[in-house]
Symmetry: C2
């Protein structure tokens, strides 16, 4: 695949906000935040990070690529699970340090725990002290052991 | 306001994922990522960050609070613009380092540039080299100078 992952360099805040040059603002770790929503339901499926290479490969191929901070490597979504994500639309935010991708999620779920979305627990509001989460849309869409623990 | 912003401490990955103790995993800067969607349209309005205090105040009050990295301070959304956000639901993701809040956006827009959402430009896919963004839903919902440049 292309090793040209270079993008325009961020310029002034005004240009970043009102211009049409895509000049992603990577953080000190070289990452932008990626918010991933389901193109059909609109639900947030996951939040991940992209380095320049992941961003370039996502744009090149239309398939979601991320950078795994825990494994310190580029990661094509679905490379282990088969649950790939086809990007329907990519947007960038005002200061160009976050992208929003609307995806067609292939396979039953986006979350490695087996759920459709990573956001399967609600945080109750107007509580003080320690907070007990509540499961919400938390049914398992697939068995993660069967999917990931392949010999 | 309460100075009790303490939450349960993150435990094992398994407990973080499958348990019901809210134990947000703050990064090295003490922040979690907050994805903010419009409770009616489902659109992503903005991506921001919360420190423990912002998270606690959001939960306590049901009004969105963030931590501004550029200004290095707690920030109640709408404190300058009047465009507050009432939280309809808060969710947390599998590893508890990101929250998703669905909000009722008060006033015309969430973005300081005057748009309804911060994501008002599309990144065209399957392009190489430098990339020209395309405005999408980029109409100004309010005049940022009139809103922010008050004497």
């Amino acid at each position: 695949m292309s090793d040209d992952s270079s993008f325009a360099k961020p310029s002034s805040a005004k240009d970043a906000e009102e211009g049409l040059a895509f000049a992603p603002k990577f953080d000190s770790s070289g990452l932008v935040t990626a918010v991933v929503t389901d193109s059909k339901s609109g639900d947030v499926l996951m939040v991940a990070h992209m380095n320049a290479d992941a961003l370039r490969k996502t744009i090149d191929t239309g398939e979601a690529h991320y950078f795994s901070r825990s494994r310190n490597k580029l990661w094509r979504k679905g490379e282990s699970s088969g649950h790939t994500q086809r990007v329907v639309e990519m947007r960038v935010d005002c200061d160009q340090d976050a992208v929003w991708i609307k995806v067609e999620q292939h396979g039953p779920g986006a979350c490695h725990t087996g759920r459709r979305s990573c956001f399967y627990r609600a945080v109750p509001l107007k509580q003080t002290g320690s907070i007990a989460l509540e499961f919400r849309d938390a049914e398992k869409a697939f068995d993660p052991h069967a999917v990931y623990d392949k010999k």
